[in-house]
Amino acid sequence: MLKQCEGSHAVASAVAMCRPEVICAYPISPQTHIVEGLGEMVKSGKLAPCEFINVESEFAAMSVAIGASAAGARSYTATASQGLLFMVEAVYNASGLGLPIVMTVANRAIGAPINIWNDHSDSMSQRDCGWIQLFAENNQEALDLHIQAFRLGEELSLPVMVCMDGFILTHAYERVDMPTQEQVDAYLPPFVPRQILDPAEPVSIGAMVGPEAFTEVRYLAHAKQMQALELIPQHAAEFQKIFGRDSGGLVRPYRCEDAETIVVALGSVLGTLKDTIDEMRDAGHKIGVLGIVSFRPFPLQAIREVLKDAKRVVVLEKSLAVGIGGIVSTDVRMALSGLHLHGYTVIAGLGGRAITKASLHKMLQQAMRDELEHVTFLDLDHNLVKRHLEREKQKRRSGPMAENILRDVGVVAARIA
């Protein structure tokens, strides 16, 4: 059924149709609307049986989900930014224990400086935590990926993060095709845990593992993610059969056939990129875009397959590996091992800075002329940076950096280039 609704509402509805049994909620923007929506459904009795628990921190949210999942309940929570960082110890624990929790990450920057707007720093910081990470391009895909996430996670006994851009998707009203409960039930079987805390068959979970077996346990975590590389396309195909639309999968190439330049990106920026590429194609440029849906596991082979005949690759990413440049680019480079092509890293959209078609056009033109810096910060105001560096040179007690720059920028309601 077609419906015009907020991204968070679409996700809440999809999660509810997955019949979660325990939901833990702790407020942090921009994920709050999702758990608020679910809380209302539980309180009104529309979503039952389900326990909705208002916890005291994200660390507790993930910990309650761990306990609930280990006791055999389908468990869900949502977080973002500082919240994800606050729960990190439990995030690693959930994957280490092999508990198929599903969590929405409404992608948001990490402070300091504190910033509530979208980029991918939060979930990228957890790229090695052992969770599967799926990135949604739009609200329809966010909705669909949650349904696939429960199926995938439970089949592998691994937790799954569904990453959707904070505000850009969570707060955007878009048309979505809302599935029926019957469709979801046909796709997602009831949760049959591999391990369960049950007095009828007592087990100890979470014992210490020494050098004699630690490598094997960790290898299994890796092997399961490798299995996910096979399962994700299968699940997407089955999803299409039941729901009638193509959603999920490992990667989404767009106009990449014969492309000399391919832009690689994740999340909602793919929409702007596709529009830009359409215009550039119209102008006769051989350019395409490759969207990565599955960031963990990272589909090296699928990515190589798309990029191998290109002349240059521009990885546009909303995260920054301070001290080296890109996070996604490093992984993409792995996929291109042995191939001779120009590679560029473009850091864009940090802390919610709008990525406009105008900026993309300019940057891609430079890239096609191979005039782009290998690590480029899109729309970086060099003057602001210079001014601050000068200040530091002039004065030892130059004061707090972010506040200095804000003073230089002056009062602005919203800065959209």
């Binding site: 910990s63 309650v64 306990g67 100890s204």
Partner: protein
Amino acid sequence: MPFQPVKFYQTGTFTVGNRLLAPEERTVQANMQRTNGLNSGHRACQGCGEALGARYAIDAAMRACNNQLVAANATGCLEVFSTPYPETSWQIPWIHSLFGNTAAVATGIAAALKVKGRREVRVVAQGGDGGTTDIGFGCLSGMFERNDDVLYICYDNEAYMNTGVQRSSATPPAARTATTMPVGVEPGNVFGQGKNVPQIAMAHNIPYVATATVADLHDLEYKVTKAMGMHGARYIHIFVPCPLGWGAASNDTIKLARLARETGLFAVYEAEHGEVTSVSKIRKRVPVEEYLKLQKRFVHLFGKTPATETIARIQAMADRNIRKFGLLEEEGV
């Protein structure tokens, strides 16, 4: 039960032997059918108060719920010594997640059991004083505040023993630990309020809070049984001497626990919905020196020139407890 002649060999103590009790009042440990929730063969030190406390607490809890018990365990001695996998001492379903999240994990288990309609299965969470009063305190307070259906048991040995005897917020003043060295002007741990978690638990107005020691195992069993008869958040704080960390003889564990109570340093009481409902009276009041002298962690107080002022301050703490809780018969509430 076959007849066993009564032998009054326990002269000089206040202990009532099991054989003097009616069979139904005897400790669960006296029964051949005891459940051994924490089975023998684990790696605890000789004289470990925590192992003793856990064994009695878990077996009593199992008896109270017909063995339908699940446990969440914080990182710490109890976790490490009980599960040297492939061996485990636990005869109940047991999970260890992290150091600081045990109360929340237990909340999750309780929520799952509720949603699955398994109301007969009960949940205990357990941890040491570090996992309870320090790193796990946020999750513990959250579990209390929501009144989740969990019995949380804290085994308090007054320091981080598993990592090598470092100070926790339950470490008493003047005590030597690896991070409160017996050097300087005021050797050992500083004087301060510490963190009195049973009192903080009471401030949450939860259904049941109790303290106990391994010197009064029957009292411990009674409190666990009583807690298991209730629903909602319940907290039992058990005083468990640690021979290794305290520098005490391993055969003094029970004696030290008894002296902690008889000096007034550790008040044994029960509270329901934030109000004290019963207090274990001191039967033979003793000065704190008798308790302190048995432990190397206080040895710096008893050198050539005893630290009389420091000892007096510790005595004042005991006296304050005695006043506050009415621990003496004549001062009884």
